[in-house]
Every structure is written in structure tokens, then in C-alpha cells.
Amino acid sequence: MNLTLHVWRQAGPNQPGKLEVYEAKHVSPDQSFLEMLDEVNEELIKGGKDPISFDHDCREGICGMCSQVINGVPHGGQDRTTVCQLHMRTFKDGDSIFIEPWRARAFPLLRDLVVDRTALDRIIESGGYTSCHTGGVADGNAILIPKPDAEYAMDAAECIGCGACVAGCPNGSAMLFTSAKVAQLAALPQGKAEAAQRVCAMTESMKENGFGNCTNHYECQAACPKGINVKFIAKLNREFQKSLFE
């Protein structure tokens, strides 16, 4: 099939950017979206033009590197699917596809579709861990963790940190990302000791790093390629309230 791509091109952070039009010809339905872009890039290179820069790495939906807004939806809107796992058979011959970078103040653009997501790392640095030392910890079975708690923590821990929740959020908020880590650690006995400090520090860090506030649109859950549930945001809110009384 043949497609018309409208791709955001921007040479650098402080340069002007705009949507450029490219033709993707003879696209196979078995190609992944990124492989389709690979071929467009090959043509561009052979024509002496600058290929489109985009983030990608594992190409199996787990590293969280790929980050493109396709037709207005982060990762293209297929249920629980990252861009790298999105296949061209979901498109039709003659389709026009708009490809844009993650947009949020906290994610400054670096080039074309590549943005800087280190703000998410800084949220984790503010408290997304248990302060345990290497070595000198208790046996893994010393503290029992009921299966439902372990499963709940695992549901939250599936977050791949891609930032789609922020890109989709009308407020540019990182609440789903933040809450997934808060909820994971708050559900486990190992994380409970620091739960109160953690929730305050991480939400504060979210604000300081330029993310917006959550107003319960739930767009984040819809955009999340791992289906992280907004119930974790409710959990964060509970944890925050508890912290007020400590």
C-alpha cells in the first residue's frame, strides 16, 4: 500500500519546526510502523536528504524508548501497543498519517521526533525506590507478601516509562507514571517505611520538573501501552492523604 506521511521535522531544540510530507510507497502490511519509517529514511538518505530522527531500541514493546504521536494519539491508539509493535496492517492504502513528537513542557524537543524525557528519571530520583543497602538485607521469604499484594504491585510495576501518559494528557501531567511507582512500593512491606515521604517528594518533583496537574481525564490510561490503570492515581491520592496525618 501507499501512504502519505506528515512528519514533524525540527533540526534542533531552538529551531523552527514544521510538518513535512513524505510518500511511503509499497508498504507491506507485515511491516511494523518503525520499519516503515526505516524505509522512508533509506530513501531520504539515498536522495541526500536528512533522515527522520526518532527514538527506538528494543522494538519488542518493553524498553519504552519509542515515542511517537500518530494521528493525535501516543503510540497510535491500538490497545496496549507501543509504536514498535504497531503493524502497518492497521492502516489502509491511501491513508494520511500524522506523526508528531511527544508534546509537553517537561519534554523539550531535541530533534524531529526525539524528545528529552529525563524529567521522568528525576521524578524517580526524588524517591521512587526503597533505601536499602546492597547486601545486609533480610531473606526474601522473611517478610511474607500476600499474592494479591504482589500482583497489585506487579500491575503497577509494568510501567515502561515511555511517557505516553504525559503526551496524551491535556495537562501534560505525569500523574500516572508517578502513581504507578508510588502504588507499587506502597503496596509492598519493603516500601511502606518510606511511603509518606515518597509520595510527597515524588509529587513535588513532578511539579518542579514542569509537569501539569492531574484533573482526572483518564486519557493517560487510554494512551498507556501497558494499560496501567488510573486506580493507581487514586492510590497515590490516598497515600498523600495518609502522609498529611503523619
Binding site: 511491516q31 503493524h87 531535541l110 528519571d121 525506590y129 511474607l144
Partner: protein, 637 residues
């Protein structure tokens, strides 16, 4: 030269404890004066940086991805082994040690493997303390599953995302140290050279992938945790950015490369659909518990699978290995699939695939049971192929997956270049010629959390902190070399793209140095690779410029190194005139197709010294001594 692995003497049960005591310590107040450069932030690198930072060293960590959380350790699905023996099924440190030595086809160093088995238990405790949500049973105890190559249940897991959860644990630990100021992270930064001063590793030259700035970082020791090299096959299950570059640059600066020919090919991957394909996706090999492998008996049979009658199907694994059937070991299953396809009986696009059929199991157990066991894998398969594995047989094909070989290191994880330490998949130490499932995660974390913190001190006490400054002539030389190389890459302006070269190299490697290797095929590869490399430096087209975000340039550098490394891999494979583990020479096989080792002549680790591009590398041998496990034919029958 005969290499010394510096293994501790005496009973193996006490070897690590004794060695820990014998090693020197760095005074706590002196630690912050030492700067350690850690390259890579996967399980090994993340764990090492976090632990060294916590100890008080001044750590700088580097990764090419945009965050320390994205290294390819994240893609490991199955689990992590430990000798906890929680299920009371007869497991022990010795048994894990034994299984790993045997699984590696007797090509690993005993003392290293013992240590790995010993600290495996600490890893689980550490990860639990970090908040890794391992699977639990209803009583709240840690759950275990069994895995290939072992008769006990010792694998801990977090759904099908164990690697992800362990990596996020290490990432959280490193994040904590970044906050504490002991670790400084340089993301989107790729190592392009090792700086060696007076024979010791004292720095690295890196390129900032955003600004394009090339600069040198100096330190008191360098720790490489830069993963494996199977992207030399172009199509593999590795991430797109995985490369041999850091290792190769260290190799070119004097570090020996050991056993590069030991590569693991995973049997159950989703086949390639066309030339456009950029990578292959692995599905857990547990699928073979209930799936039956077959190919049509007739050559070139392109009927849909459900129209091929039972008697015209060849259940080749069941036919060839009646006792093991579809559960034959990874290497055997992989090679058998290749044989079917070479015989023009492969299925799917390009005829590179065989069927993995669940019809019999679904009939026996019902679709629901199969869905319960493998639902996520069927879902993944459908996402990629658009086929319903419950209705039509899955198509699978083997794919390069893991590198057992790597930079040569002694028992302290230190390479032959003093001050250069190598951890995880990047070194060669514990997996021998074949890695068992759920052991890669174990090794990465063992090296990072529990080995390097002790062994690096033993080196550091011998060197004064801050000995080398950034204005050292070696740093300048390194910067110049990297800059010259970059200018060369950008100025060729030829006709072929970087990925065309990578693809071409991959074809040579896969066809000649892949699952089955012969003297003839290896010689063919050794002939073809230099020709391709020559063409690369004449005819590659790299767009853009140096001082900017330039993904073509990044790739060009990586492919350039693969083009040199591929030749070494082939040469090592040619020199190792035996079959062992993942290295299968068609000349050396048992009547039943098992690998036939030659312990008399090849019971050593082959460590190669770089002598120049296109020049014959020099072979150094480290003899392997087996005092605790007796050399025997590896058999799983």
C-alpha cells in the same frame, strides 16, 4: 601466552569467602577520591554503579539510551535462577554450580561459576528488598518455576517480565545514588574509545549523542557492562542499539576478546516476514512444552497448514529425537529447524520457518488451558503476524539471542588491561559455550552487586587516586583518533546506506557462521567480510554532520566495528575445531547430531589479542581445569 585466571586455590566451597578476605580494602574516607567510570546501565552496569556509589566511590555512569532504565536486560522474559532451594527439591549451591558448568558444555571456569551460584541467593534477597514484585504464592512465599537444563525449580520470576523488574530494581538503586550525588549519569552518551595510560585503563572517550560533542572522561578504573554482540547477525533478538563497539574499542586498546564464537541461537522466535525486517522477536521456549514442531514432507509445499494431512507432515524433532521429542535442547532444536528449511521444506514467507502446532494439545487440554499457560505469547504472536495461533499453527524460526563470549577477564572480572573491569554479558566468564535459561540475569546482578565492589578495591589500593588528568597526551590522542574517524565516516558520501552494509554483513554471518558452521563456510566468511569492510569505507553514505543528533553516524560507527569484529568471530570459530554448546561444527557431531567436544585439544578459553585491522590476531590460551565436576559428554537423555 598462557593466561592465568587467578582463581583462588583450595576447596571450591571456600574459594570466594577466602578470596574476599585476602583482597585489600579501600579506606572509607579514601573512597570518594577514586573515580570509577561505569559504561552501560543494564543489570550489571546499573547494579555496579549503584553499589559502588553507595560504598562512597565517585561514580560516573554512561548509557547510549535516554535513561538508565532502558538497557536490553529489560527484555528478558523467563526468570532468574538462585539456589535458594525453597521448594525443598534437592537444590543446592553445588547443584546450581554443576548445572551451569554442564550446561556450558565444560567451557567455563569452575571458580567463577561457583561464586555465581553462591551469591545467587543474595540477589533474590536484594531484589525483594528493593521492591521487585516477584511472583508469590497465596501464603505469601516466593514462587518458583522450572526452566531448561535443570531438574529442580529454582527460577524466580515476575510474570513474563522478570528482566524488566530486575532492571527497574537496579535503576531505582542507581536513581537513589544519583540523588545522593555519588553517581553522575551521562545518558545518550556512547563510548567510542578506551584511554590506556602506561598500560592501565584510565578513561574513556565518548560522544554526546545529543550535541555530538566528543570528549574524554578520566577516572581511576573503567567498568564495561556493555552487553553482547549478536547484532553482528543484523537480525537478532537484541535491541537495535546493542553493539560490540565499547568492547571492540577496548579490544583494540589491548584487552583480549575471549571465545567470540560462542553465540546462542534461540529456537522459538517469530520468523522474518521480508527484507524490511529490522529485528526478531523471541517467544519463551516454554511453548515447546505443548507445541509440536513440524514441516511438510513434500518440498516446496505451499498449501495452508490445515490442508496438509497428518501423514504428509514431518514431526522432525519427534522423529529424530524420540526420547526428548519437542523438548530437545535449544541448540539441537534450532539446528533441526534450519535443516528442514535448507531442504526446501520451510514454511511462510521466504520458506524460513517451521510450524509449532498446538492443535493436539488444544484437543487434549482444551483451548482455555493453553490460553492460561501461554495467553500472552499467543497475543504477542498475533500482534506481529496477524495470525491466530489457536486456529492455525504458529510459525517459528531460530534467532541469535545471546553472546557467551566476551572480553577476557580473570577471577576478579578484570581484563588483561589493569583497571579495566568487564561485567555481565560483556565478559566471557561463566556461561562457557552455552548459557542456560534464567542465568543471564543472575550473572549480571551477581557481577554488579556482589563481585565488583570487592574486586575493584583490590585494584584501586594499588593505584593513587586521580593519577591521570584530562590533559594527558593519551586523552588527546584518543580524542584525535575518534575525531579523525568521524570525519572519515562523514566524508565518504558513497552510494549505500549504513543499514545496507549491516544487512549484508548479517547475511554473511548468518549463512556461514550461524547455527551450523563448517571449515568451508567459515573460510568463506573470512574471505567475504574484509571485502565488505573495504567497500564500507569506500562507499557508505552517512548523512548529516558531527556536532548534532545524528543517528546515521551512531549506526555507522557501530556497523564499522561489527565489520571488524565479525571477522574475529569467524576466525575463532574456524580455530575451534570441535563442537561445543552454541558452537556447532558440522564436522564434529555424534551420530545423533549432538555436539562432539574435543577436550584433549580444546579445553581452554581462547583469548585473542588485536594486532591491527586485517591482521592475524594472536591467540592466548587459558587452560580450563575441572576439579569438582568431571568432564563428561553433555547429555540430557
Amino acid at each position: 601466552m598462557i593466561l592465568d585466571g587467578k582463581c583462588p586455590k583450595g576447596p571450591i566451597e571456600q574459594s570466594w569467602d577466602k578470596h574476599r578476605f585476602d583482597m585489600k580494602l579501600v579506606n572509607p574516607s579514601n573512597k570518594r577520591k577514586y573515580k570509577i567510570l561505569v559504561v552501560g546501565t543494564g543489570l550489571a552496569g546499573g547494579a555496579a554503579a549503584a553499589t559502588l556509589g553507595e560504598l562512597g566511590y565517585n561514580v560516573e555512569a554512561f548509557c547510549y539510551q535516554d535513561s538508565a532504565r532502558r538497557a536490553h536486560s529489560i527484555a528478558a522474559q523467563g526468570g532468574i535462577n538462585a539456589a535458594k532451594a525453597y521448594p525443598n527439591d534437592g537444590d543446592s549451591i553445588f547443584r546450581l554450580f554443576y548445572d551451569t558448568i554442564k550446561g556450558g558444555d565444560f567451557r567455563a571456569r569452575e571458580a567463577d561459576v561457583w561464586r555465581l551460584a553462591q551469591v545467587s541467593n543474595n540477589i533474590i534477597d536484594q531484589c525483594v528488598a528493593q521492591g521487585v514484585p516477584f511472583a508469590r504464592d497465596y501464603a505469601g512465599y516466593l514462587d518458583n518455576r522450572s526452566f531448561g537444563g535443570a531438574q529442580v525449580s529454582r527460577t524466580f520470576f515476575a510474570r513474563g517480565q522478570t528482566g524488566q523488574q530486575l532492571l527497574l530494581g537496579a535503576y531505582s538503586a542507581i536513581s537513589r545514588q544519583i540523588k545522593a550525588g555519588t553517581v553522575k549519569l551521562f545518558a545518550r552518551t556512547e563510548m567510542l574509545d578506551l584511554v590506556v595510560v602506561d598500560g592501565e585503563a584510565k578513561g574513556i572517550t565518548v560522544r554526546d549523542l545529543v550535541t555530538g560533542e566528543i570528549r574524554t572522561h578520566v577516572g581511576d578504573a573503567v567498568v564495561l557492562c556493555t552487553g553482547g554482540y549478536v547484532n553482528v547477525f543484523y537480525l537478532s533478538t537484541n535491541a537495535m542499539g546493542c553493539s560490540v563497539t565499547a568492547n571492540w574499542r577496548a579490544h583494540k586498546k589491548g584487552a583480549y576478546f575471549a571465545n567470540p564464537c560462542y553465540t546462542q541461537i534461540h529456537p522459538t522466535c517469530i520468523p522474518q516476514t521480508g527484507e524490511h525486517q529490522s529485528k526478531l522477536t523471541l517467544m519463551s521456549e516454554s511453548l515447546r512444552n505443548d507445541g509440536r514442531c513440524w514441516a511438510p514432507k513434500k518440498q516446496g509445499d505451499n498449501r495452508p497448514p490445515n490442508e496438509i494431512p497428518e501423514e504428509e507432515r514431518d514431526y522432525y524433532l519427534e522423529r529424530k529425537y524420540p526420547s526428548f521429542g519437542n523438548l530437545a535442547p535449544r541448540d539441537i532444536a534450532s539446528r533441526a529447524a534450519k535443516e528442514q528449511c535448507d531442504d526446501n521444506r520451510g514454511v511462510g514467507p521466504g520458506g524460513r520457518g517451521v510450524y509449532l502446532d498446538f492443535a493436539a494439545s488444544i484437543k487434549r487440554l482444551g483451548e482455555d488451558t493453553i490460553r492460561e499457560r501461554y495467553g500472552n505469547l499467543f497475543e504477542m504472536y498475533e500482534k506481529i503476524t496477524d495470525e491466530n495461533g489457536y486456529k492455525v499453527p504458529m510459525r517459528i524460526y531460530p534467532a541469535p539471542h545471546y553472546a557467551m563470549g566476551g572480553l577476557w577477564v580473570d577471577y576478579n572480572c578484570e581484563s588483561n588491561v589493569p583497571g579495566l573491569f568487564v561485567l555481565g554479558e560483556a565478559n566471557f566468564s561463566v556461561h562457557g559455550a552455552n548459557r542456560l535459561g534464567a542465568s543471564a540475569l543472575m550473572q549480571g546482578l551477581a557481577d554488579g552487586y556482589f563481585v565488583i565492589p570487592y574486586t575493584i578495591a583490590n585494584y584501586l589500593v594499588k593505584t593513587a587516586p586521580g593519577k591521570v588528568k584530562a590533559d594527558n597526551p593519551e586523552c588527546k590522542k584518543s580524542l584525535e583518533n575518534v575525531n579523525t574517524e568521524m570525519k572519515k565516516l562523514l566524508s565518504i558520501n558513497g552510494k549505500k546506506t549504513v543499514s545496507e552494509f549491516h544487512r549484508a554483513l548479517g547475511k554473511i554471518m548468518w549463512n556461514n557462521v550461524g547455527m551450523a558452521r563448517s571449515e568451508q563456510s567459515l573460510k568463506e566468511a573470512i574471505k567475504q567480510i574484509p571485502v565488505l569492510r573495504e567497500e564500507f569505507w569506500q562507499n557508505v553514505k552517512v548523512t548529516g554532520s558531527g556536532p548534532e543528533l545524528n543517528q546515521q553516524l551512531e549506526n555507522a560507527w557501530r556497523v564499522a566495528d561489527f565489520l571488524e569484529f565479525g571477522e574475529l568471530l569467524a576466525k575463532d570459530a574456524l580455530h575451534r575445531d570441535e563442537s561445543c554448546g552454541g558452537h556447532f561444527r558440522v564436522e564434529h557431531q555424534m551420530p545423533d547430531g549432538e555436539a562432539k567436544r574435543d577436550d584433549e585439544n580444546f579445553c581452554y578459553a581462547a583469548a585473542w589479542e588485536f594486532k591491527g585491522v586485517g591482521k592475524e590476531p594472536e591467540l592466548h590460551k587459558e587452560p580450563l581445569v575441572f576439579e569438582n565436576v568431571h568432564l563428561a559428554v553433555r547429555s540430557y537423555k
